[in-house]
Symmetry: C2
Subunit: 349 residues, 2 copies
């Protein structure tokens, strides 16, 4: 669990930030409340001199105006860090110590990737598309730009965007200005920020963020399984009011409308259940209408809150049958911990 966080972890937690859970009330997360993880530094990018290079059968170079002149698509997309829940693992993998809040939903606008790749000519034998950001740092002992690759069939999906707007405005610096990749349904690291190079690969990418980070493994000597799509998760808006330090909730007795949102990158959300007794008994929540296939889905539950101590939980199941576990599954990197949230609440009569 999260006791004994080190100075290094705290330095990361002070820079990066989650979405305060009361912001689950917004179907689209306001900028500044959306979660943010920056591996290295937020780079300074001059849009006038920046360009996107595409290295395929043909070499293309596009400025921001050229990208904005291409077909425009808007999508509402929920994005979650693959490390969300890491600080709730025991022993705790040392990296950004997320508890629950590393999520957000934005309205991204940009141009679809596929037509651009087709113009450049993907060519025979290409297995992956590599995306490179402007941001540089050292990790695993090597200096590097942030780089991630996608299997070519995923990169060619219709919903993959080169996004230049977030919530109706140019990307903020911290979310990738002037351009980022948006791959709906996948964990956050896929959505390369400050994107500047796209390259076709005939061999799988072996860079640090692909072959070491973002893999599920139990031991250092395993190759591990790469992370891709978000596992199902549901989070609820903590009801009542908080105690400042403990964040425990004080709730008046009576009917309380418990609200939350649920998502899965694997399949549409099929159901959400709510428990007030820490997961011993469950009752179904009511699902709101969808906002497209890539956004979280709102839900609500009328809770008859009686005086006493309670632990509120919710759990999502998707149409592929994936369900949140009650207890986390440990792995070395601390990824994909989608075990259910627990919100201690004291109901006063």
């Amino acid at each position: 669990m999260a006791e004994g966080i080190s100075l290094e972890e705290l330095q990361l937690a002070a820079r990066n930030h989650g979405m305060p859970l009361e912001a689950l009330r917004y179907p689209v997360t306001p900028v500044g409340l959306h979660y943010l993880l920056t591996h290295y530094d937020v780079p300074e990018v001059d849009a006038a001199s920046w360009s996107l290079g595409v290295h395929a059968e043909r070499e293309l170079s596009l400025g921001l105006d050229e990208l904005r002149a291409r077909p425009r698509v808007e999508l509402t997309v929920t994005m979650e860090c693959a490390g969300n829940g890491r600080a709730r693992l025991d022993p705790r993998p040392v990296s950004q110590p997320w508890l629950l809040e590393a999520v957000g939903t934005a309205r991204w606008a940009g141009t679809p990737l596929r037509p651009l790749l087709e113009e450049a000519g993907v060519g025979e034998g290409v297995v992956e598309i590599l995306f490179t950001g402007v941001d540089r740092g050292a990790e695993g002992g090597d200096e590097q730009a942030f780089q991630r690759a996608l299997p070519v069939e995923e990169a060619l999906r219709d919903e993959v965007l080169l996004a230049y707007e977030m919530n109706g405005a140019p990307l903020p610096p911290q979310h990738g200005f002037p351009l980022r990749l948006v791959v709906p349904g996948w964990y956050g690291m896929t959505n390369v920020k400050w994107l500047t190079e796209i390259e076709v690969l005939r061999e799988p990418f072996s860079g640090y963020q692909q072959s070491w980070s973002y893999r599920i493994r139990q031991h250092e000597d395993e190759e591990g399984e790469p992370l891709s799509r978000m596992l199902p998760r549901s989070l609820l808006v903590p009801p009542g009011i908080p105690e400042f330090l403990t964040r425990e909730r004080l709730v008046p007795a009576g009917e309380i409308l418990v609200q939350g949102r649920a998502w899965s990158g694997l399949a549409p959300v099929a159901s959400v259940e709510v428990s007030a007794d820490g997961g011993s008994s469950w009752a179904p929540a009511e699902l709101e209408t969808e906002d497209g296939p890539w956004a979280w889905r709102g839900w609500s539950f009328r809770w008859q809150a009686e005086p006493g101590s309670w632990v509120l939980c919710s759990r999502a199941r998707d149409e592929a049958g994936n369900e949140q576990p009650l207890e986390p599954a440990w792995n070395l990197g601390g990824y994909a911990n989608n075990s259910v949230q627990r919100v201690p609440a004291t109901v006063t009569g």
Copy 2:
């Protein structure tokens, strides 16, 4: 020091966030990079039904449109949390565990407070003006709205604003929508967010955030000294590139332009000095022109970086003679630690 952060502290660090120090490059901090501390929850405020009540010789009630129709002033203001630096104290006071980054500068627009107070009639014998936010929580064992009072002579200063815009847009929810108090030069807690009531007081306010929190004391049984204006501080943009986990900097040898910003709520910044050897020797930085009396002041320093291990520091002095100390002065609440920043850097040849 910051080893052994607890779950409760981490919960706060995951919600609240500092300004990544590379964002010192912006004279006005983009929304989402400005530091943020929310005591309780970000409340949901319906601007249409919200009003500001003023309780003085006369009772006034103003809607947002009425406030926007009043004289408009814009000010660039640097705001720092009084708890900035808390996690670097030993023993560490348990609260939001800030390291260095709890600062930001915004362009606030709103209407001056003074004419409104004069219309309402402050009256004889008034010693303080009390400001109440919509946000509620429990702290020190009591349920409360967030409330802070200002001495009447401070509340009547020309630069005190009722702000409805930040950086040219309506306040974001997390920065106090629809209205917040902005008191230039004072620590962050003074700038009450989600402001809904203003009240004249004939006795000093004794609420939790005034009589217990935000006071400098060594022992629990002391009354303590209230915090008010920001002590001088300077921060620098860490040069080169970071190692992901340690945040240590890798810097190429040669001339490096080290840049930073400095501020003091007590008096204008008089000088900034830079050290590359952890504070053993100092050299003057060059100050940029001011952006008004309430914004941080940019500075730069040409560092001849030679291969080896260095610790970069900067320290500000203001025109009243206040200077940052090399070592922090401990206090029970962990406030006002303006000791100098230390940035370990490895210069490679």
